[in-house]
Symmetry: D2
Subunit: 161 residues, 4 copies
């Protein structure tokens, strides 16, 4: 199976008055997983650069980079409310589709790895586009990008009506 597991810590202040993590902040969590998987570390982050990024983290998309990794659309299904847990939730991420100028990222949010339960809290997809910062327009995926990302493609999520 080709899913990448990104552990993300929740914050108490991301809850709303209903007492669970607000649906908007869940989008922030998915964004962070996407950034950590697909983007090179920030040029100022010497520790992460020394450690070496993951095999998919090849986009120069942070502050002032050559590419912007834009969000074209989201589709998110909230299945179970997420309480404020101290362990890092398990964001499972894979690529549902590579297209000429972007991709469809698929995610599921699960209980922290090692929990006694395994709830699937959220299922979501994000369609992204690669934007050439200097040229000022969407660009095509390079052969290197496709080679790095292809192994992590799998069946896309399907949302039932």
């Amino acid at each position: 199976m080709t899913r990448i597991h990104v552990p993300i810590a929740l914050r108490w202040g991301e809850q709303d008055p209903y007492g669970h993590i607000n649906n908007v902040h869940i989008m922030r969590i998915l964004e962070e997983a996407r950034v950590r998987v697909f983007w090179k570390p920030d040029p100022r982050d010497t520790e992460a650069l020394r450690a070496g990024p993951g095999p998919l983290a090849i986009l120069d998309a942070t502050s002032g980079g050559a590419t912007q990794h834009l969000v074209a659309s989201h589709h998110v299904q909230y299945m179970v409310p997420i309480p404020y847990l101290r362990g890092e939730i398990d964001v499972q991420l894979w690529i549902g589709k590579l297209s000429g100028a972007g991709m469809e990222v698929c995610y599921e949010i699960h209980d922290p790895v090692g929990s006694k339960t395994d709830t699937t809290y959220v299922r979501a997809t994000t369609t992204t586009a690669l934007y050439d910062t200097e040229a000022g327009r969407v660009r095509r995926m390079t052969a290197d990008e496709e080679a790095a990302w292809r192994p992590y493609t799998d069946e896309p999520l399907v949302f039932r009506r």
Copy 2:
């Protein structure tokens, strides 16, 4: 046409390093429009209670209310990046479908009313569920709710692939 116009002010700090309103914060803006249209004012908000809520604002869904107006899913399409504008953007909102226990809210985000341009920045739908706080489960829509909301139903947004 049955669209409701909800003016919402942007904030500079809702931009990300790409220099436009971050896609996550746009979900916050849609949430705020939904709350203002469908929910009664907070019991502590004596001014808004005196002013009287709009005709759709009948849900007792704020802190400690009888109902929680839960988000089941979002589908959002970002068409044009939103810059930091000082005028209140025009969130146009209508009901795409009333179902037994919730609704599909449709939105478009446009330039502030009165602008010389009229950009459609975002198109989105949210599927919601009515949750009975005391009973601890989803409840059916009441006849009063349906009567209040029915006049604001219109063709739902369709997302092209």
Copy 3:
């Protein structure tokens, strides 16, 4: 009296599980007031540019501008919890001190203008610095800046222990 009144709309999602506007989001509200008072509109905001900025809004400090208006410190006192109100709260802002390279901004957050009550929810000060983006260092205030801002100086807030 030299206070500037900046009306700011609250958002339901800025509340935390305690059921009032979270103290962190109150800092976002003060930031927004500061931006609207001291900064020129964003170059993409043609409507605000046409309308003309206020007399203090002379800093070119938005995306890619010549100056960054940095926060050096905050001192905030939360006196009364802020409920989710639909009216725009009244952020009263003035300059407590102009220094060579920045200023001390003072604020009080009050009930929406026209409310029957007038609660002072928050008192705060922010010390800012003017940073020359191109030179890459803090710069001195210009004579024009001092002339624009001097009339809005008043007694700084004092925080009792």
Copy 4:
């Protein structure tokens, strides 16, 4: 030395257009450190309850708890802008003062533990109050609370003008 080290992960989306972690989000990070140190895990967080909380984590202050741990004031000094780092920053926290009904929490934010550099990015203090949810008013610190917290008191931070 009595400092507690709380590792907190940053998020790309917490940056603003200036390209560093926005000062407002830094307050969110300090809040999260405070919650993890002083509060019991959420009753729904069975994994954290099984693991056992730290020795200071004795407040029942999450959703619907007996106590609210309110913020009375913050004093924050931003010394160096925080870039988006992938490693967890080191929030160092200690108690500057215990008073009858609350405490002064002191913090410094440092580079991730194990980094080659050790920058002090932020220094801050928060004055808190213990609020009895049922009684609806501030309450006095109990003897058990004082006994748990006293060992972590140290010299409070002093802010130079």
